[in-house]
Amino acid sequence: MSVGAPKIPVVVAEVVEVNALIKRFRFQRRDGAAMPVFSGGSHVVVEMDDHGTRRMNPYSLMSHPADTLGYEISVRRDEVGRGGSLYMHTHVRPGMEMVLSQPVNLFPLDARAKKHLMIAGGIGITPFLAQMAQVEAMGGRFELHYSVRSPALGAYVEHLQEQYGSRVHVYYDELKQQIDLKTLLKSQPLGTHIYVCGPKGMIAWVKATAAAMGWPALAVHSEEFLAPPVGLAFEVQLAASGKSFTVQPNQSLLEAIEAAGVEAPYLCRGGACGQCETDVLRCDGHIEHNDHWLTDAQKASHTKIMPCVSRFRGAALILDR
């Protein structure tokens, strides 16, 4: 039961410095064929060969979903992360060959919504760029509330205002501007769905505010990809494939499994989709569960692990893989 779709061999067509923190990358197929169309909110996993270390990071597609000539992503530079975004910023240049996954949508619009109310923070704007283009083409109704640190770091603000006019509202932290969320949510027509993508705190704030105001939970959608955290090195044993190895501090367990030549399923690589869920056969120690997938009871039982983001401390970890 493999869910593996064919990967997309691409060449980097364009790298644009959007601002001091963000670069935009455009990819085209190496064979000149059309890219698959996709649904707004989809991401692709970008495979990087970082000087021998294979990195696979998910990025939301921001280009027009009907643009089959190429895909675009934006990458925010993360100085303290494991290096995927730094690799994209410092090493990826036009003409380079890379590999993308087929698009997967874990943040889809609800097609029944009478109105889409989108709330973005910082780099969380990217899935909305594709969604707005798709809704606009179909004559749907939407409104964007976009919070950024400063005018200098407000990626795509001008483009958005030009394209969508009064449906775009921008807030600058530096100017002490903040979304008046309660008033905003109070004034929405029946049948509105809320979508939020941004920092953890923003997502929690929107969800809690909406819940307190009586919004149905199923009308509030969010996406937060976790970057796999760095941590201490640990040993792991794979029972089914009979391999043992060390997971390095800046390597995820999933990456280490793949580096050992063992095929493991994945889709988001960010603790959200559940695809890489793995049975734990033995756990002498403590699993650091960093995912949004497992229930609290499952986490406490230490019988499951999401190797894309979770780590381990202790004497022995044996997985059914």
Binding site: G4, V37, F38, S39, P65, Q102, V104, A111, G274, Q275
Partner: protein, 346 residues
């Protein structure tokens, strides 16, 4: 054209029959001598030349006759085709998938010419030529899903994905094994599977749903389902049960070989790119018992499957009543010899 497609009926005089070639490529659904539910899904990748798996959408000798039968069913009962308003985009995804596949796989019968959003579709077997604007439903005589599924064998349902579930919210259903789109439309995955016996206790639907929610565009999957049908009736619907249900009571040892059919569904599942919906084509293949027993391995195996199937399943599939008759007929072709593993004839 007349050489490619049978002139035949699926009602009234039931002139449907399989040619020797069609029998040889029949998708016999049992890989072993017994049957139980399983999440028997595998990648829907191209199979052997000439097999029903050769192309994404199989077009066979029954194509034209099946499409005429569908038009008759729809004329009598338009509710067999329904689309909830938010599913139109998925309909366009499906139209594109089928048109591109057929034009690529059967260029002698189908052509698709694109100039931006101005599309030109030619279906020679059904003598249809249509110029239209992609994504503009006013340029087609029907909505996109209805338009293309009036020209494609098999039933189709479109599932929206949201709230960690799949919702059946559009479909074209005229060749069904006793289920109703009009009844099921709007239901969640487990709601529309609720009538299936045993499988719920086996957690089949939990696992199947989890798998399907992660189905990827570009990686379709397939599985078989099967049942038994008296006479070559495609439209075995609950809506028409009074018309076909009683036929089960008229079977005799003399007529069973000719009138009893094994009904096999080749079910595929495809993620659709623009809508993120899933399309579920359910392609029905019929074969008379007397056609099927011309393949010795299939005859032996079908006898053993029917003999050993739990009564709950025979009841659900609607053939418990005629099981003894079937066994008497099939036993003549089962000499007790072992059968080889897998679906194929020896």
């Amino acid at each position: 054209m007349s050489l490619d497609f049978n002139v035949e009926t699926f009602r009234g005089d039931y002139t449907f029959k399989n040619s020797a070639k069609a029998i040889k490529r029949f998708p016999f659904p049992f890989p072993e001598d017994s049957y139980m539910y399983s999440v028997n899904m595998e990648p829907h990748v191209p199979g052997a030349v000439g097999s029903v798996f050769e192309h994404l959408f199989d077009v066979d000798e029954h194509y034209v006759a099946e499409m005429r039968d569908r038009a008759q069913v729809l004329a009598e009962d338009p509710l067999r085709c329904q689309t909830l308003p938010h599913m139109e985009l998925a309909g366009w995804d499906l139209l594109e998938l089928i048109m591109e596949s057929k034009a690529r796989d059967y260029p002698q019968w189908f052509e698709l010419h694109k100039d931006g959003d101005n599309w030109h579709w030619i279906n020679k077997p059904l003598q249809i030529e249509q110029k239209f604007t992609f994504m503009d439903a006013s340029t087609l005589p029907y909505g996109p899903m209805e338009y293309i599924t009036r020209q494609t064998q098999g039933d189709f349902t479109l599932q929206d994905q949201r709230d960690d579930d799949l919702w059946i919210e559009a479909g074209m259903v005229t060749t069904q094994a006793d289920w109703s789109l009009d009844f099921d439309i709007g239901m969640s995955f487990k709601q529309w599977h609720a009538p299936v016996p045993l499988a719920h206790q086996m957690n089949i639907f939990d696992r199947a749903l989890k798998f399907l929610l992660k189905l990827q565009h570009g990686a379709p999957v397939r599985r078989f389902n099967w049942t038994m049908t008296v006479d070559a009736l495609l439209d075995t619907s609950p809506e028409n049960y009074p018309k076909w249900g009683p036929s089960k009571t008229t079977m005799t040892p003399e007529t069973i070989g000719h009138r009893q059919h094994l009904r096999v569904e080749l079910q595929t599942l495809h993620r659709l790119p623009r809508s993120n919906a899933i399309v579920f084509p359910i392609r029905c293949y019929l074969i008379r018992f007397e056609e099927l027993v011309t393949v010795p391995k299939w005859a032996r195996r079908l006898h053993r499957v029917v003999r050993d199937i739990p009564d709950e399943l025979a009841t659900y599939k609607g053939f418990l009543r005629n099981k003894p008759l079937m066994l008497d007929y099939l036993a003549q072709f089962d000499d007790g010899q072992p059968t080889s593993p897998g679906f194929g004839a020896d």
